[in-house]
């Protein structure tokens, strides 16, 4: 296979001086050698024709897997039907956003919006937890060098009638309007216990078995009030609903520790966000894949998936050309018949001229509206970003309000979040199915990722990467976290 490639490349270049009288014969020979055979039918090759793996869709999950496959030495063809990277998780300009979601074409006067191209608006709004699994993946794959991150300034939780800053220091906790004085004391004891908890050291458990004890029981032990529980569960442990309360407490305690460790690492806030938007993330992993030999083809509609006699995927056809593979990894939207909707998410993209009230003029922040505050089953999230992260022109802000759909009227469900934003210059709403694969992919050799849920962090996306890896290779992805001192 390698020799064949070299002949083809040499032919293209003509660098070896072989172009002469016998060029026709050479051309014919190369032509026959170049054909790709599938089920006995010869096709024109798509790119190099033969690959170990074909990846369809350039969302974050697919790009991470593509990078990992290429680094492992596999020959990867990575295609996307769109002319841009990111698929469902792309970042787009204001014009692209409105073209995508508004019914008619909108004029975008510069004095109102600023330059459309200065916007990089995430289709799927999320923040990165500083000490979370995505950071581990970024370091493991050594792609952080392609990206620049900035800390998200503020984290707020809605309580009573307005957003309150989530306290990040003991001093802030003591002065926060979020908690009463006695409650602050109880909180301190609770956090002291949580910080000291170590699953491997029963001494630190204070005779509580968190593998059995539920989180509700642990909260009760420290006599925490409902508002505090809401804040701990939703703004620190980042649960989207309250089902965690009746599950073993250890999981939640670990989540609170993750928040605290992330905070310790970046001091101001536990969240990070890349300059120019989340769409940079899949591109960083795509570059990793390309650097290790992966072939990339944007703007490549897939006409047909080719299967062998056992209904296993063995290739793709695009524009009449064929590439073969041992298996396909894809975003679920490439295989609607092999995926199913598991939830609906409503997202509203808003353009503001000022940061939302009560967010202390933050250039970037998160506001969590716990489900109970809005009398709902699941939380509403508001993410605010600005030119600080190079996702808007100066003097403009984007607020992204999202939640899991619970009723037949999703636009009304996010109103609670919109009410916190102050004056909205313009907005657009969209409702998307969250798709999940119907099967593991082992039988048909089509390994599908999951769609992106309403959570505002990447923990579930990272979990999908680990799951996808395990389905493909039958073993866990071992993450080696690089030490800071081992930089090249």
């Amino acid at each position: 296979m390698m020799e064949e490639d070299e002949i083809v490349d040499g032919g293209d270049l003509g660098a070896d001086g072989a172009v002469g009288d016998n060029s026709n014969a050479m051309d014919e020979l190369t032509e026959t050698m170049k054909k790709v055979n599938v089920n006995g039918v010869p096709y024109e090759p798509l790119a190099d024709g033969e690959y170990d793996a074909i990846v369809l869709g350039t969302g974050l999950t697919e790009c991470v897997i593509s990078g990992i496959l290429s680094v492992a030495g596999l020959k990867v063809l990575h295609a996307d039907k769109n002319e841009y990277y990111g698929g469902q998780s792309a970042s787009v300009s204001l014009e692209q956003l409105f073209d995508k979601f508004k019914e008619s074409k909108v004029e975008l006067p510069k004095d109102v919006y600023g330059s459309s191209r200065d916007y990089n608006i995430d289709l799927i709004p999320k923040f990165i937890i500083g000490n979370g699994d995505l950071v581990r993946l970024l370091l493991h794959c050594d792609v952080a060098k392609y990206l620049e991150f900035r800390v998200v300034e503020g984290s707020f939780v809605y309580s009573g009638s307005r957003p309150h800053k989530v306290p990040v220091t003991a001093r802030e906790a003591m002065t926060s309007g979020l908690l009463g004085l006695w409650e602050k004391n109880r909180c301190r004891q609770f956090f002291s216990y949580v910080n000291g908890y170590n699953p491997d050291d029963p001494e630190a458990h204070e005779k509580k078995d968190l593998k059995k004890m539920t989180m509700r029981e642990l909260f009760k032990y420290y006599a925490l009030q409902a508002e505090t529980i809401e804040f701990v569960g939703h703004a620190l442990a980042l649960y989207t609903d309250d089902t965690y309360l009746d599950k073993p407490a250890e999981v939640t305690v670990k989540k609170i520790q993750l928040y605290a460790n992330s905070l310790l690492r970046f001091t101001k806030s536990p969240y990070l966000y890349p300059l120019y938007g989340l769409g940079e993330l899949p591109q960083a992993f795509a570059r990793l894949s390309a650097v290790h030999g992966g072939t990339f083809m944007l703007n490549t509609p897939i006409d047909e998936i080719l299967y062998n006699g056992s209904e296993q995927a063995i290739g793709i056809k695009s524009d009449g050309k064929v590439a073969t593979c041992k298996y396909i990894v894809a975003a679920p939207e490439y295989f609607r018949e092999k995926s199913m909707p598991v939830a609906k998410v409503v997202r509203c993209y808003c353009i503001l001229a000022e940061p939302p009230p009560h967010t202390r003029e933050s250039g970037s922040c998160q506001i969590v509206i716990p489900a109970a505050q809005a009398k709902r089953q699941t939380d509403i999230y508001v993410l605010v970003l600005s030119a600080d992260h190079k996702v808007t022109p100066g003097g403009r802000y984007v607020a992204l309000v999202s939640t899991t759909v619970e009723t037949d009227n999703p636009a009304v469900e996010i109103q609670f979040g919109l009410n916190l934003l102050g004056h909205i210059i313009d907005k657009v709403v969209t409702v998307d199915d969250v798709l999940a694969p119907r099967s593991s992919g082992n039988d048909d050799k089509v390994f599908l990722s999951r769609g992106y849920d309403a959570t505002t962090h990447f923990q579930t996306t990272s979990a999908d990467v680990f799951d996808l890896y395990k389905r493909i290779f039958g073993q866990n992805l071992e993450i080696q976290t690089k030490n800071a001192s081992t930089e090249e």
Partner: protein, 203 residues
């Protein structure tokens, strides 16, 4: 005025096979390989260039082969301070492609004031005598003039002709452009692999 310490990002653009990786290898590693291999494994290389007796750190990005099917993506172009636009003097098609690469860069990188952005145009492979020349120096210079007076060099990565000069020129223009934008403040970014605050103090 404070010393400029910012890393300059320079990217090399052009059709597949014009010698982008060879130019980079020649400049940074002082080496050249006759064997053509579509780019695999080339990422970015760092090198200090001396401008007016001061070292300026350059980070030079190769395309990693993603240009083959026009699949570079905005992130590659983003934040570039200078661009080397490369064509092959024996391949007219590669010269005709320059306009599209320049446009693609301007749209994707969205640089302020694209008309004065530091593009340096390189006609590579002038050492090749086995193939006839397809792009005359005059034709290339005319195009550069039309595009607002872009600097043009004919180069050879194989024979090391004008390679250092090309990088020095693009770096010099990028430095000059940077100095004219004094009021532009870079956002304060963080290292994501930094250790927790406590540990750092104990080091």
């Amino acid at each position: 005025m404070p010393e400029r310490t910012k890393l300059l990002k320079v990217i090399i653009l052009g059709e597949s096979g014009v010698g982008k990786t060879s130019i980079l290898e020649r400049y940074v590693r002082h080496s050249f390989s006759q064997q053509y291999k579509a780019t695999i494994g080339a990422d970015f290389l760092s090198m200090d260039v001396i401008i007016d007796d001061k070292p300026v750190p350059l980070q030079i990005w190769d395309t990693a082969g993603q240009e083959r099917y026009q699949s570079l993506g905005a992130a590659f172009y983003r934040g570039a301070d200078g661009v080397l636009l490369v064509y092959d003097v024996t391949d007219a098609r590669s010269f005709e492609g320059l306009d599209a690469w320049r446009q693609e860069f301007i749209v994707s990188a969205n640089p302020r004031d694209p008309d004065t952005f530091p593009f340096v145009v390189l006609g590579n492979k002038i050492d090749l005598i086995s193939r006839p020349r397809a792009v005359s120096q005059k034709k290339a210079q005319q195009w550069c003039l039309q595009k607002g007076g872009l600097t043009h060099f004919e180069t050879s990565a194989a024979d090391n002709i004008n390679i250092d000069l090309a990088f020095e020129t693009v770096a010099r223009s990028a430095v000059k452009r940077g100095e004219e934008e004094e009021e532009f403040i870079l956002p304060e970014t963080v290292e994501i692999n930094r250790k927790p605050a406590e540990e750092q103090c104990n080091c």
